[in-house]
Structures are given as structure tokens and as C-alpha cells.
């Protein structure tokens, strides 16, 4: 076991996978000598050299398109997009190419690229260093969308993503990159994709979250328990495709569901969760299905903590559904 924070766990996974398979190649802006602006690739350039750790020109569409081409040739390309806010120039390559290659070629050509990118607010990053666009990817058949919330999962999920034969958008919660450390096995291990975790068991209210918001959600559950409300917390880990069974079991048990996400509320991932629960298990519901989310504005700067869900905001919704 080693004590690692999330960013180190990610680096650890990359290093181990690159050790294991010489066809794993990473590429991105400033990931080489500089080790990435968040240092997620620190030391990898020195260890694996410029042929496997590519400092690329500043062009996200180029990074992803280049990775797609490498991947079609059997390379496991793991590009980093420096901030997910800058992924939009690559949208065409992601939506039209990466996500559709297997399908459009009748299964002949596959490009299981893993795109790593830090996402999310709470770091004084303002509009363009804070966003959380997971719904845009979850709306794209062919992609898998993974969001870890802790070092153990970060390592195990990234290894699974790298070994997956499908393309993965791997969103890294940069707000908690270094927030805490935990024991992580040094060995090779995987956390399966498309499998959620019950982070806290409870019987009264189901809280569904992932990534950085998972911790806000856990704090809210602690506050609620002081008031005698027993919350269950689901960490989705992979948001698309979803682990529907874990959700089903929990919501049938509690009959009260709240999702906690930091992206703008309208058409955000919470909307999908609400719809799924309503469509399938409305008869179990004791209260409205609630979304606690970011507001429908561009991501603010000095007011970011008013924009994002807080434990207090989540707690209010917990009280509301509990007492409904």
C-alpha cells in the first residue's frame, strides 16, 4: 500500500500501464518535460522518452484526431486535455469520429482512446477553467464517461479505462486532486467500469453524485444524520453507461432521491437521473425527485461558491424530501 492523493494515483496508473504495455502512449500540451500543468504526468517523460510522452502542438482537435489515428493502428493513446473547458475544439473528433468509428465501420475499425481531463469548479478558475460538461459526452452513444471521486477509484478506474476496448472520457475532479490521501495498492488492480459504489449506507434518502460533488454530498449526509435522517450515498463512478441496478436497489429502499451535480441544472446529468427514476420507479417515490445542481449561468468567478452545490443546499433538499 502507498498513500496517494488523486493526482498521484492517476500518475501511478499511467506509469504502471506504460510499464505493462509499450503500446500505451500519452500525448498533450505540456505533459512532457513539464509533467502536465497539474503534474499528472510528472516523471513520465524522463522514464519513457519523447516517443511515448508527446508534447503536442496547441490544438485540441489535433490532439484527439491524432490519438484516434494512432489508436486505429493499435496504439493505446491516452491524450490529456489540459482543462476540459478547452475540449470543445475537439468536439468534432470526439462526437463524429471517436464515438462513431466502431459503429460506422460495422465493427471493423475501433479507436479505444482514453481522454483524460481535469474538470470542475471550486478552484477560482472562472468561466474557462471550471466547467463540468459530462452531460454533453453522456449524450453521445459510443462513449463511456468515467468520473472518480477518490484515489483508490482513480487508479483502478483509469487502469480499467486504458484496458477497455471502448473510448472513455475520463474526467478528473481537479478541485480534489490533492485534497486528501488514502491507501492505494501498489499492485495492479482494476475498478470495473459501469459499476457504482455505495459510499454510505442509509435507509431514508438516496443521494446520487460523483466526482468532486460526492464529497459535498457526503458532508450533507453527515449533517442530515445529526438531524436523524439516514442518507444513502451512491457514487456513480461511471456515469455513462450507468449502473442501473445499484440505483434501483437504493431508490426502492428509500423512496426519496436527490442528485447532486455541479454543471448547469437544465438538461444536466441530474435530469437524466430524475427521468430514469420517475420512468421506472415512480410508484416507490414518497417525495419529488430533486436535482441539486449548478445554476443555469456561465460558470462565475468570485461567486463560484454560491453557484455550486454546498452541503447546506443539499441538506435543505434532504429535509424537504424527508418531510414531504
Amino acid at each position: 500500500m502507498v498513500e496517494l492523493n488523486i493526482v498521484d494515483a492517476i500518475k501511478y496508473a499511467l506509469e504502471q500501464e506504460m510499464d505493462r504495455d509499450k503500446d500505451v502512449i500519452i500525448l498533450g500540451e505540456d505533459i512532457g518535460k513539464n509533467g502536465g500543468v497539474f503534474r499528472a504526468t510528472q516523471g513520465l517523460y524522463d522514464k519513457f522518452g519523447p516517443e511515448r510522452v508527446l508534447d503536442t502542438p496547441l490544438n485540441e482537435s489535433g490532439i484527439i484526431g491524432f490519438a484516434v489515428g494512432m489508436s486505429l493502428y493499435g496504439i493505446k493513446a491516452v491524450p490529456e486535455i489540459q482543462f476540459i473547458d478547452f475540449i470543445f475544439p475537439a468536439f468534432d473528433q470526439i462526437l463524429s469520429e471517436l464515438a462513431k468509428f466502431r459503429y460506422r465501420s460495422g465493427g471493423q475499425f475501433t479507436c479505444p482512446v482514453v481522454i483524460r481531463s481535469p474538470y470542475g469548479g471550486g478552484v477560482r478558475g472562472a468561466h474557462y477553467h471550471s466547467q463540468s460538461p459530462e452531460s454533453l459526452f453522456a449524450h453521445t452513444p459510443g462513449l463511456k464517461v468515467v468520473v472518480p471521486s477518490n484515489p483508490y477509484d482513480a487508479k483502478g478506474l483509469l487502469i480499467s479505462a486504458i484496458r477497455s476496448n471502448d473510448p472513455v472520457i475520463f474526467m478528473e475532479p481537479k478541485r480534489i486532486y490533492r485534497a486528501f490521501k488514502e491507501e492505494v495498492p501498489e499492485d495492479d488492480y482494476t475498478v470495473p467500469l459501469e459499476s457504482a459504489a455505495i459510499t454510505r449506507e442509509g435507509k431514508d434518502v438516496t443521494l446520487i453524485s460523483y466526482g468532486a460533488m460526492l464529497h459535498i454530498t457526503m458532508d450533507a449526509a453527515d449533517l442530515a444524520s445529526e438531524e436523524g435522517i439516514d442518507c444513502e450515498v451512491i457514487d456513480l463512478r461511471t456515469i455513462y453507461p450507468l449502473d442501473i441496478d445499484t440505483i434501483e436497489e437504493s431508490v426502492k429502499k428509500t423512496g426519496r432521491v436527490i442528485s447532486v451535480t455541479e454543471a448547469p441544472k437544465t438538461a444536466g446529468f441530474g435530469a437524466e437521473l430524475s427521468a430514469l427514476v420517475a420512468e421506472r420507479w415512480i410508484e416507490y417515490m414518497e417525495a419529488p425527485i430533486i436535482r441539486v445542481a449548478g445554476y443555469d449561468v456561465p460558470f462565475p468567478f468570485v461567486l463560484e461558491h454560491d453557484y455550486m452545490p454546498t452541503p447546506e443546499r443539499v441538506l435543505d433538499s434532504i429535509r424537504y424530501v424527508y418531510n414531504y
Binding site: 503536442t56 489535433g62 490519438a67 486505429l72 459501469e194
Partner: protein
């Protein structure tokens, strides 16, 4: 501009005739005949409502010369007018016809507009439709080959319109910076649907763009299959020697409409088309073959008749095949079916009579 064949099929002054075995030359010609015939059949089928769409290659058969300079382990990224390259690389003709009909034998599983196809076993990459995206992918594939040190090169085709796209820029730049073994082949057919070249770029020549990327560039008569072969051969050599990518601007002309949905009379003069018909790559190459005694007029006529009949037969067979089964709608989104796709498949089966 590089050119080897005069319009009358003779070898241009001060140029060297490439040495190519006769049977190979004849094979190139045969493929030209096949794809030209596919165009006349394809548009008729589309007009009859028997196939959904048609994309023309007429006038751009010179691309076969580029493909001929590649080995079977090399890769090709087509735009969508490179059917000849696929056939030259060994795609059975009937596969294209099944694909046009999008039937159960279509290896694209009936998912694509007719004309947009790829084939893994001949390293002929499946194209999308957003213009230009393949250009940077080709650079990436070539990088992968360079990394694996297996000596393969990657040729990517795109149009003049595509040179305005984002991924033309990213592809040229990444290819140059990483010195990838890539042939960037611009089939400059003078039009991007209705937009003429001078509205696509203010550059005097497209090939000049190569300079800005630090890429070796060359302009070639795209209707001269021998010149196309020759410049591609040199570019392949440079690529295999580790000298990096080459940009090839092939001057050609789309003699037909953009697609079956297009009416070129809205935007271009017939006289322009007539002018380019005089430079028809098939006519020119035929004259060369006849001059060399590789082909006679009689054999030529026989060849056209043969493919006319054969393609009619293949159309007859392909048109009788059923559509792909409803299950195929959900295959290949992922390696395995996730729960929600299983549910959706069960649902659609209830409503489908297929």
C-alpha cells in the same frame, strides 16, 4: 506542375516514363473502367429510387496512380471519391454493390450513405462525413507506424474544400512536427459543391500552403495517372526513409455532380466542364496504352461491355438481398451491449416487422 502524359497519350518532353509492368498498367485501367461504370449505374439506381444516394468519382480516376504507389501493408484514408483505390487494394467489386444497396451483406451493415465505406482488411479506413477530420487521423496513424518501426506509410485523400477545415491545419501541423510518414493528397477538383477554388482560398496555389507547415509540397496533374504514380512513389520513398510527410496537390476536375443531390448547372458553365472533358484521365491513359500496344480498341470495348454486364449482374443479385436485421442497429455502439441498449433493442423488436 508534374506531368508525364500528354493529352494524346504520348510522353511529355523531358520527362521520364516510369517503368511499370504491362499487366499492372492494364489493371489500373481496368479499375478506371469499373468505377466509371459504377457511376453511370449508381446514379441511374438512385434516380430509380433503388439506392439512397450516389457519390461520383468521374474525372478523378487519376487517384488510382497514388494508390498504386502504396504497398498492401500501407494505409489509405479516403475522402469519398477514392473507390478505385479500394478496388486496387483488393476490395471485391460485389462488396461495393452490396454496400450501395445497404443490404445484409454490406460490411458497413447498412449504416452509411452509399459511397462512404471503408474496409479493414485492405487498410482502407472508414470515412465519416464531416470534411477534413481524416487528415489529422492519418498523421496519427502514420505516427503509430513510425513508433512501431514497421515502415508503413499512410496516404490521406481530401478535397480542395477540405484545405479550409480545422483538421487540415491540425493534420499538416502534427504531421510536420512529428515527421510522420504521411502522404497528404489534395484532390483539387476546383469545386467544393458550388464554391469555386478562389472563394476557398486566397492563396495562389494550394500547394503553397505546404510551405507554412514546413512540409515538402508538390503539384501534379491529377488527370495523369502516370504522374500521380510517380510523385506518390517519390513521396512514399521519402516517408519510408524517415524524411517525413509530403503534400501532393493533384489538379483535377469533378466532371459529374457533387452527389446525386446536386445540380451543377446552378453554379458552373458547361463550357468549363467540356474543357476538362478533353483532359479526361481515362481517355488519356487509354491512348497511352494503345500507343504502347498494351490495349486495342477492340479489347477496350470488350472491357467496357464486360464490366457493364458484370455490374448489372451484381446489381441484380445485391438488390434481391434483405436489409440488415434489426439487431444490427444496436451492435458496435460498444464492444458489448449495455443494459439500456438491450432494453431498447427489445422495444424496437416489438414494433419492427423485420
Amino acid at each position: 506542375m508534374r506531368k508525364i502524359l500528354n493529352l494524346d497519350g504520348s510522353i511529355a518532353k523531358n520527362t521520364e516514363e516510369p517503368i511499370i509492368p504491362n499487366d499492372e498498367l492494364l489493371h489500373w485501367y481496368e479499375i478506371m473502367v469499373q468505377i466509371r461504370t459504377l457511376d453511370t449505374k449508381g446514379i441511374r439506381l438512385q434516380r430509380q429510387g433503388r439506392v439512397g444516394f450516389h457519390i461520383f468519382t468521374t474525372g478523378q480516376e487519376g487517384h488510382i496512380g497514388i494508390a498504386a504507389a502504396l504497398g498492401s501493408d500501407d494505409w489509405v484514408y479516403p475522402a469519398y471519391r477514392e473507390h478505385g483505390a479500394a478496388l486496387l487494394r483488393g476490395l471485391p467489386l460485389e462488396d461495393i454493390i452490396h454496400h450501395l444497396f445497404a443490404n445484409d451483406l454490406d460490411t458497413q451493415k447498412g449504416r452509411r450513405l452509399p459511397g462512404l465505406f471503408g474496409e479493414k482488411n485492405i487498410n482502407f479506413v472508414n470515412p465519416s462525413a464531416p470534411i477534413g477530420t481524416q487528415i489529422v487521423q492519418a498523421a496519427g496513424t502514420a505516427y503509430a507506424s513510425k513508433y512501431k518501426k514497421d515502415g508503413n506509410v499512410v496516404a490521406v485523400f481530401f478535397g480542395d474544400g477540405a484545405t479550409s477545415s480545422n483538421d487540415f491545419h491540425s493534420g499538416m501541423n502534427f504531421g510536420a512536427v512529428f515527421k510522420t510518414p504521411t502522404l497528404f493528397v489534395c484532390m483539387n477538383n476546383q469545386w467544393a459543391i458550388s464554391v469555386p477554388l478562389h472563394q476557398q482560398t486566397a492563396a495562389e496555389k494550394i500547394v503553397d500552403k505546404a510551405i507554412g507547415y514546413g512540409i515538402h509540397g508538390i503539384q501534379v496533374d491529377g488527370n495523369d495517372i502516370l504522374a500521380m504514380y510517380q510523385v506518390a512513389k517519390e513521396a512514399v520513398e521519402r516517408a519510408r526513409n524517415g524524411e517525413g510527410p509530403t503534400f501532393i496537390e493533384a489538379l483535377t476536375y469533378r466532371l459529374g455532380p457533387h452527389t446525386s443531390s446536386d445540380d451543377p448547372s446552378r453554379y458552373r458553365e458547361d463550357s468549363d466542364v467540356e474543357n476538362w472533358k478533353n483532359k479526361d484521365p481515362i481517355v488519356r491513359f487509354k491512348k497511352y496504352l494503345i500507343k504502347k500496344g498494351i490495349l486495342t480498341e477492340d479489347q477496350d470495348k470488350e472491357m467496357w461491355d464486360h464490366y457493364d454486364n458484370l455490374i448489372n449482374e451484381l446489381i441484380d443479385q445485391a438488390s434481391k438481398r434483405p436489409l440488415p436485421s434489426i439487431e444490427t442497429m444496436f451492435d458496435d455502439v460498444y464492444e458489448t451491449l449495455p443494459w439500456h441498449l438491450k432494453e431498447q433493442l427489445e422495444e424496437v423488436k416489438k414494433y419492427s416487422n423485420r
